[in-house]
């Protein structure tokens, strides 16, 4: 069956006792794209992946993965997907090669040994292939997990926080692997807590907060919505107010004070604002600067801001 969307969910709900982990999740991931599901801990990212990979049954709502109904055609979904997450792992008592051979056999592949060898080679695990997986480093283990989910080239690959807890080099390896998969036409849905990771890898980002998709768009659209955080640190508490005045005029955002650090900051969506211009304007206003910075907001900033906007909408 050919459909435009590799993953299409409508109103997915999941409750654990009193906790409503998902409150009506709508996701649409076009075929061949990488979708980054971005959100803080407890937002419902993992629950969403567990539902979409048939590990949990939804309480309400529906979804199609690779064109198959999640509940009624669960077996067909399982044939079409690959999953890697902290909870979907390999057997540490088996070697890397034994693990991959087992999964190839379970996928009914004709030459499990050859397939295992190919994947070990591709993920740089040939040398460690015959050691128990429990002796692997974190990065090697994650590469083996990823290889295990690619044994039979999946149509849709789910990666649940694939780089959490990894060192920068190992993170880069995983990123390269995701880019390569995308080039091969695999649809990837990955969850992450890192804005940077979503920015690097995803065609579209779905911001998830408290069991709902709060915002969707390309990384650039998202950054435009989120804006840039401008912060100024001054030498003397008395000049905080004039500094805030300059920020207010330049950014149009509401300045907030950090009295402990003698700093004032504001969010801007004006992409023409640069550091030299900020410094010139502050200098012209006679504000003695210690430090000034423009940086992408942290995920916390993003969610605080989105939440505030939603509350304003409700109030209005």
């Amino acid at each position: 069956m050919t459909t435009t969307y590799a993953v299409l969910s409508e109103g997915l709900e999941k409750r654990f006792g009193e906790v409503r982990a998902l409150r009506g999740l709508d996701l649409a991931v076009p075929r061949g794209t990488v979708c980054g599901v971005l959100g803080p801990n407890g937002a419902g990212k993992t629950t969403a992946v567990r539902l979409l990979t048939t590990l949990l049954r939804p309480d309400a709502g529906s979804a199609r993965v690779a064109g198959y109904d999640l509940v009624r055609e669960a077996a067909a979904v399982r044939r079409a997907i690959g999953v890697t997450g902290q909870y979907a792992s390999v057997d540490g008592d088996l070697t890397g090669r034994q693990n991959l051979r087992l999964f190839a056999r379970l996928h009914r592949m004709r030459a499990p040994n050859e397939r295992a060898g190919e994947l070990l080679e591709r993920f740089g695990l040939t040398e460690a292939a015959d050691r128990p997986a429990s002796t692997y480093s974190g990065g090697m283990r994650r590469r083996l997990d990823l290889a295990a989910s690619l044994v039979r080239r999946p149509e849709v690959l789910f990666l649940d926080e694939p780089t959490t807890g990894l060192d920068p080099a190992s993170r880069g390896d995983i990123w390269d692997a995701v880019r390569e998969l995308k080039r091969d036409g695999t649809t990837v849905l990955l969850t992450t807590q890192y804005l940077e990771e979503a920015d690097q890898l995803a065609d579209d980002i779905a911001l998830v907060d408290r069991g709902l998709v709060a915002h969707t768009g390309s990384p650039d659209q998202l950054k435009a919505v989120i804006g840039t955080y401008v912060e100024v640190v001054v030498a003397d508490p008395d000049v905080l107010v004039p500094a805030a005045g300059v920020l207010d005029r330049l950014t149009g955002g509401q300045p907030s004070f950090d009295h402990e650090r003698v700093a004032v900051g504001a969010v801007t969506r004006d992409s023409t604002l640069t550091l030299p211009r900020l410094v010139r304007e502050l200098d012209a206003a006679g504000v003695p600067l210690l430090d000034a910075s423009l940086r992408p907001p942290t995920l916390d900033d993003v969610f605080l801001r989105l939440t505030a906007e939603r509350e304003q909408e409700v109030a209005a």
Partner: protein
């Protein structure tokens, strides 16, 4: 069905690879019953009215059954460990027959148990135990023992999937150690007070132990015992049938359903 056979064989292969990668674990599980045979056989055997050599013959079937009952603990531990390590969920995202994973685990346990029992029986022979009945009866005894192990493993698999806790499996280990103490595995139940004797003889371990003693020709069926012990082979088969009828469907359903 062919899917189940194929996937089950693959899962069996996985369990056997684990044993091959880590043979020390299997050898260690065999040291406990062997040291109990030597310890009980010579310490208790000297204190009991029964002659020592006779007691050791009496003890071998009891320890075989008590060790088989440990299948609850090992089955539970392994199922919980797989859940904990994420292996269960990985397998549940694959197009694998839902029954294959628990079936593979239970069958693999059976193979390992069958092989692991050999050194125990050799030590048994060394301390005076003999097969005193016919060969077909001895084969029947081994068959019953393995059937009981299989049933206990299924109970363990269900509990492991239910609790998802290796710690709980460890706790249960102490409980399964106590279970044979309240049966005729280590002592004759004839001298127990009436109510305690009834409890001990309705313990499945007692029926199995009596059946093995009868089939191996080590000791006669005791007089005036409760039904499962008075008819030990039928009683043993009934116990195994009940355990399998309850825990196989529960285990398979629990595996297929996961946690939600």
């Amino acid at each position: 069905m062919s899917t189940l056979a194929y996937d089950g064989t693959a899962m069996l292969g996985r369990q056997l690879l684990r044993v091959r990668n880590n043979p020390a674990l299997v050898i260690l599980t065999q040291t406990m019953p062997i040291s109990m045979l030597l310890f009980f056989g010579y310490v208790f055997g000297s204190a009991l009215a029964m002659p020592g050599a006779e007691y050791r013959s009496f003890l071998v079937p009891g320890l075989l059954v008590a060790t088989a009952a440990n299948g609850i603990m090992t089955g539970m531990f392994q199922a919980a460990q797989d859940v904990h390590r994420g292996v269960t969920d990985r397998l549940r995202t694959l197009p694998v027959s839902r029954a294959a994973v628990p079936v593979g685990q239970a069958v693999a346990d059976l193979v390992v148990t069958a092989v692991g029992t050999v050194p125990f029986l050799l030590v048994g022979l060394a301390v005076g135990w003999r097969i005193e009945g016919s060969a077909p009866e001895a084969v029947a005894a081994v068959g019953l023992l393995l059937l009981f192990r299989f049933a206990c493993t299924w109970a363990g698999i269900f509990l492991g999937l239910l609790t998802r806790s290796e710690e709980a499996a460890g706790q249960l280990g102490s409980a399964t150690f106590m279970l044979p103490l309240l049966s005729n595995a280590y002592i004759p139940t004839g001298n127990l007070p009436g109510w305690l004797r009834a409890i001990a003889e309705w313990n499945p371990i007692s029926a199995l132990t009596t059946a093995l003693r009868e089939l191996f020709g080590n000791a006669p069926v005791p007089q005036g015992a409760a039904w499962p012990v008075a008819h030990p082979v039928a009683g043993s088969l009934a116990w195994c049938a009940v355990l399998l009828a309850v825990f196989v469907p529960l285990g398979v359903r629990r595996y297929a359903r996961g946690e939600g």
